[in-house]
């Protein structure tokens, strides 16, 4: 079975500062990796995904993430955050065959950007 651990439930940061949201996963098979963002009272929006190839993945809104197979991590980073980045961020995995699309989510990290 797969599982996802988001190491920080809340991350406060000042505007224009860099941020890293940490995600570790556990799986005995190959997985795809995703980061979703959820703004208040809205659904989830895909930020970026790792399927194969380059381990550094760039997504929307200036976010990027790096897949590290040896450390089973997929940390999300942004070099300079804006107030509008305040939201909850979810890391997710799915297996690469069979039940593709059945995402397993972490518990989320609430990013709070302060002026």
């Amino acid at each position: 079975a797969q599982s996802v651990t988001q190491l920080d439930s809340q991350v406060p940061v000042f505007e224009e500062a860099p941020v890293e949201l940490r995600c570790n996963y556990s799986s005995s098979v190959s997985v795809y990796l995703f980061w979703y963002v959820q703004y208040p009272n809205q659904g989830l929006q895909l930020l970026l995904k790792y399927l194969s190839g380059s381990t550094l993945v760039k997504g929307i809104n200036g976010f990027e993430a790096e897949f590290n197979k040896s450390q089973t991590s997929f940390h999300l980073r942004k070099p300079s955050v804006h107030i509008s980045d305040t939201a909850e961020y979810f890391c997710a995995v799915s297996v690469t065959g069979g039940s593709q699309g059945n995402l397993i989510f972490g518990k989320g990290t609430k990013l709070s950007v302060k002026p």
């Binding site: 659904g43 989830l44 979810f90 059945n102 989320g108």
Partner: protein
């Protein structure tokens, strides 16, 4: 292009009452998902449809929950009877490819 549409956005009911949620996926998306999101948690899959066939409903509590996707387009998720612990957000998603899901805004259920 319209996104995934869900209704109602908010629903408040008394326990033991029935409730239903409706989802209209993005046009052309054959795969439809219902996820449950409890407060402070990540979403958890309830059921996945490929066209009108439920291909994974292992996490759906079948004693009180039911779902259907007639004609392979829109879908309804029903709870009967609702319990206090069912208070949550019910998310619908659809996809053309399994590596990219599009989520609706969710239906927030409060059971009193």
């Amino acid at each position: 292009e319209a996104g995934v549409v869900q209704s109602p956005r908010y629903k408040i009911i008394e326990k033991k009452q029935p409730v239903a949620f409706w989802c209209n996926p993005i046009s052309g998306h054959n795969t439809l998902y219902w996820y449950l999101q409890n407060l402070g948690q990540g979403p958890e899959l309830l059921i996945r449809y490929e066209n009108e066939e439920a291909v994974d409903d292992s996490q759906l509590p079948k004693d009180r929950f039911s779902a259907e996707r007639l004609k392979g387009v829109d879908s309804t998720l029903k709870i009967q009877p609702a319990e206090l612990g069912d208070s949550a957000v019910y998310l619908c998603a659809s996809s053309l490819r399994p590596e990219e899901l599009f989520f609706g805004e969710g239906s927030r259920l409060t059971v009193l």
